[in-house]
């Protein structure tokens, strides 16, 4: 008999705009020792399903129908007191964004103790020793001194280990991992996932892995269930879902996942694949960065954020700047954008050294218009009190020198260009979807016809299917408008799709740079290789539906 059996589960939330049915008739089973992955995009109800079975739904959420049975026990009707005993002792959870998942003003060791004491696994006398044991069990080195650390003193990966220690402290039978690696670097992601799967195997746990990343699901689970809009679309063995997805939505999801040997157009559904316009890369360097250095003087030792970085971008060329958090890629792009002053070095743009103009004055510089930025978080980078139209018109009003009517026409032109339906121009950011907000951000950035567009992880916050559309939009815009891109990202597979050349950074220095194909297939540095290896690989033979057409994008 299955350890966990969910039958026809329905969950609804009361909101101001009426009742929202978040989960509709989902049936799932998890056998003993089995790892089930629930895959879906945001709003698919995958997290809500797990919160419902733990009975920790947010206020306003109720289980409307269905049965949840865990080891013969009816979880839906269990008393709250019994549920509290089950949580943490029988079923545990780990969460995304591990630093926020821990109490910021309580020592991490004490937080583990709280759980041990609650479930009677330790007494006041031996709680500390047992908490340290639990930390050692998740391979935290020097656990005795880390016991006294606060979450802000630990790295993201270390915080996630603490969360895992907390979840496994009382030897539960079922572990639910809710997007456990979102917000972590690829190499950290691999370390955390390897640890989790090792612990699952070691202790013979059953597990539910909730993720939006098909590659991750395939690499670390036995079975995959695909959800969309609160419904279960398809479930089956991990390899089968990838190799031979049955439902059109699973097919679309598999196709949209960036992976080895797949071109940018192939991410789209077949009917949306248009031939890519050709791109002619100019011979002249548009941007040349020479020996760029940034040192932050703090109270302690100076921090060398960027050390002696040199690279160039030619006209109509896309260059990817890749590295993990703290590698200096954002500092580099902020210096090129002239938001930060470099400590040393030159930024030659069209032959002019931009570094000579202090960043304070660059906002009024005539050359400012030809450099634009698309931000990582499409929501936070839009003024919540500006309509889409006002957001796009903002740079035009400041730097464009157009009159009202011309501005209006230009905004509408831009909306058409980025595929934003014109009626949506009057909406505010909170009334737009993630993909629509990304389009507004792009339209705003290209409003002044920049020569260089800096893309700072523009798709990191988007669902894979939206990411596929936005990446293709960026490729098309580049071909039509002849812009150059500097694409800053941590994800090599995404960068490869859009970029001609790739620069890999680590610890403020360039590790290697070269043509995208070469970096992806024959990296020279071990670090690049470890980055490539860390990305979870979907099972091979994953070319879905139609055979892949010839590489659609001209390089």
């Amino acid at each position: 008999m299955a350890l966990l059996d969910i039958k026809e589960l329905a969950v609804a939330f009361r909101t101001r705009r009426g009742t929202v049915e978040a989960v509709r008739g989902v049936s799932l089973e998890v056998a003993r020792g089995e790892t089930l992955a629930i895959v879906g995009e945001s709003g698919s109800g995958k997290s809500v399903t797990s919160y419902a079975l733990m009975r920790i739904l947010d206020a306003g959420g109720t289980i409307r129908a269905g049965e949840i049975t865990y080891g013969g026990m009816d979880l839906r009707r269990a008393a709250e007191r019994d549920m509290a005993d089950i949580r943490g002792r029988e079923i545990s959870m780990i969460f995304q964004n591990p630093r926020a998942a821990l109490n910021p003003i309580r020592k991490v060791g004490r937080q583990i103790e709280d759980v041990l004491l609650r479930h009677g696994r330790a007494t006041r006398q031996d709680a500390r020793a047992k908490a340290i044991q639990a930390m050692e069990a998740v391979r935290i080195r020097d656990a005795a001194s880390r016991y006294h650390a606060y979450p802000f003193e630990l790295s993201g990966g270390m915080c996630q280990r603490v969360v895992i220690a907390l979840a496994l402290a009382c030897d539960p039978k079922l572990l639910i991992a809710d997007e456990p690696t979102t917000g972590l670097d690829v190499t950290t992601q691999k370390a955390v996932m390897d640890l989790v799967s090792e612990l699952i195997r070691e202790r013979g746990l059953s597990a539910i892995l909730i993720t939006h990343d098909l590659g991750l699901a395939a690499a670390y689970s036995d079975r995959v269930a695909v959800m969309r809009d609160g419904e279960l679309v398809e479930q089956g063995p991990a390899a089968a879902i990838f190799a031979d997805p049955q439902h059109p939505y699973s097919r679309k999801l598999v196709a949209a996942t960036p992976r080895e040997g797949v071109g940018i157009r192939e991410l789209l559904p077949p009917e949306a694949r248009t031939p890519a316009p050709p791109v002619q890369i100019g011979g002249r360097a548009l941007l040349e960065v020479r020996r760029l250095t940034k040192t932050f003087e703090g109270e302690g030792a100076p921090v060398h954020a960027v050390k002696d970085v040199s690279f160039s971008i030619r006209e109509s060329e896309s260059v990817g700047l890749v590295g993990e958090s703290g590698c200096g890629k954002s500092t580099t792009s902020a210096m090129i954008m002239r938001l930060l002053d470099p400590t040393a070095g030159e930024i030659l743009f069209d032959g002019d050294d931009l570094a000579k103009t202090p960043s304070r004055r660059f906002a009024r510089d005539p050359r400012r218009a030809s450099l634009q930025l698309v931000f990582q978080d499409a929501t936070d980078s839009l003024n919540p009190r500006f309509t889409a139209r006002a957001s796009i018109a903002d740079p035009l009003a400041r730097l464009g020198g157009l009159d009202r009517a011309a501005r209006r026409r230009r905004v509408e032109e831009l909306a058409d260009l980025v595929g934003l339906p014109q009626p949506l121009l009057e909406r505010f950011p909170h009334q737009l979807s993630g993909g629509q907000k990304a389009r507004v951000g792009i339209a705003r950035a290209i409003a002044l016809e920049p020569k260089l567009l800096i893309l700072d992880e523009p798709t990191a916050a988007l669902d894979v299917s939206i990411q596929a559309v936005v990446l293709n939009l960026l490729a098309d815009l580049k071909a039509r408008l002849g812009m150059s891109y500097l694409f800053v990202s941590h994800d090599l597979q995404v960068v490869r799709l859009l970029c001609d050349r790739i620069v890999v950074m680590r610890g403020g220095e360039i590790v290697e740079q070269g043509p995208a194909e070469r970096i992806m297939t024959a990296p020279e540095s071990d670090y690049t290789r470890s980055l490539l290896d860390a990305v979870p690989k979907p099972p091979s033979g994953g070319a879905p539906t139609v055979p892949p057409p010839a590489r659609a994008i001209a390089r």
């Binding site: 920790i56 005993d85 969460f95 964004n97 998942a101 821990l102 709280d114 979840a167």
Partner: protein, 340 residues
């Protein structure tokens, strides 16, 4: 811990220039006030000569920088000058009146925290319940009723109609003797002396003005507690705590409430400062011999020394208060002291 100690010491050091600035501003401000104290002091029948004489006696004929040097010199010796209207040294009067105001304000704040914080927590943990509605009513009433009105209403009901409260004529009825002075707080001093009869007398006197002020300060504290608790309860770490099976009281107090304390303490500091300044009306209504009414009387008659002394005392009090809040913050929140 070393980081925290450093933060605390640097906060103390930062307070020093503020004190210097306060001394300068108080001096300049009082000189800039309209009205000539010499004329007022000399009386209606004075002639030019006697006014000039008084001016010399008060040191007002000297240039401003000279006056300032003299002022600072006196200050260092702990001499704030003499009040022109009462003839008493300002230091003595402040030492007598400041504890009266502080006792009233602190009692009021204790009262209002005792009601507002639990009510705010209850309102946040049970949205839409009776506690939530009561919280809303109290907040609205507290903000919209002026203190002198609440004070008068309380006197009318509890003294005039019901006869439960004593005559609102200050800190202690005439039938009691002031307790031997230790802290200047009658409640504390009487308790220290073991004189429970006087303690009871002082407590009876302070109830009505303290409740008046408490009603006024209830609103911001209650509202901030509720908002901070709601935010803390929706935080990710509360979800983690719930998913780990921690009991509801643990989740609410050890996890949510400790985090919600931070904004509440900031608000408490602000409320304390404005109450100390704003309780003039309450002091007037209850004939409370506090620092507020003293300052207003002094200001009306351009009593330089008294006004200067008052402003200085208040400013120092605010500096000390902000320091105390900063330190409390540093002790509660481990993240402070590590950021540059």
């Amino acid at each position: 811990m070393a980081g925290r100690l450093k933060t605390i010491l640097s906060r103390v050091a930062q307070a020093a220039p503020v004190v210097v600035g306060v001394v300068i501003v108080t001096f300049v401000l009082t000189r800039a006030l309209p009205g000539d104290p010499a004329v007022y002091f000399a009386g209606a029948a004075a002639d030019e000569a006697s006014i000039a004489e008084i001016r010399t006696a008060l040191g007002l004929d000297k240039s401003l920088p000279e006056q300032f040097v003299l002022y600072v010199g006196d200050l260092l010796r702990g001499d704030l000058g003499e009040s022109i209207s009462t003839g008493q040294p300002v230091v003595t009067e402040l030492a007598r009146r400041l504890p009266a105001s502080l006792e009233l304000t602190l009692t009021a704040l204790l009262l209002s925290c005792g009601v507002a914080i639990p009510l705010g927590v209850l309102a946040a943990t049970r949205p839409g319940s009776w506690a939530d509605h009561l919280c809303r009513v109290l907040v609205t009433a507290g903000v919209s009723l002026p203190t002198f009105f609440t004070g008068l209403a309380l006197i009318y009901v509890f003294y005039y109609l019901l006869g439960l409260a004593p005559t609102p004529i200050g800190r202690l009825d005439f039938i009691y003797l002031e307790p031997p002075r230790v802290t200047g707080f009658f409640l504390v001093d009487a308790a220290l002396a073991g004189d429970w009869e006087t303690w009871w007398g002082a407590a009876r006197q302070i109830v009505l003005p303290a409740v008046t002020l408490a009603l006024f300060t209830l609103a911001p504290i209650c509202r901030i507690t509720r908002a901070a608790m709601l935010q803390a309860l929706s935080a990710d770490f509360v979800r983690t705590a719930r998913a780990a099976g921690l009991t509801r009281p643990t989740v609410i107090y050890r996890y949510a409430f400790h985090n919600a304390m931070l904004p509440v303490i900031t608000t408490l500091g602000m409320v304390f400062s404005f109450t100390l300044g704003a309780n003039v009306l309450v002091e007037k209504v209850f004939a409370w011999p506090g620092i507020g009414s003293y300052a207003v009387d002094a200001l009306v008659v351009s009593d330089y020394a008294a006004v200067q002394g008052f402003v200085l005392a208040m400013a120092l009090l605010f500096v000390a208060l902000n320091l105390a809040i900063d330190i409390a913050y540093t002790l509660i929140d481990p993240r402070i002291g590590f950021e540059n």
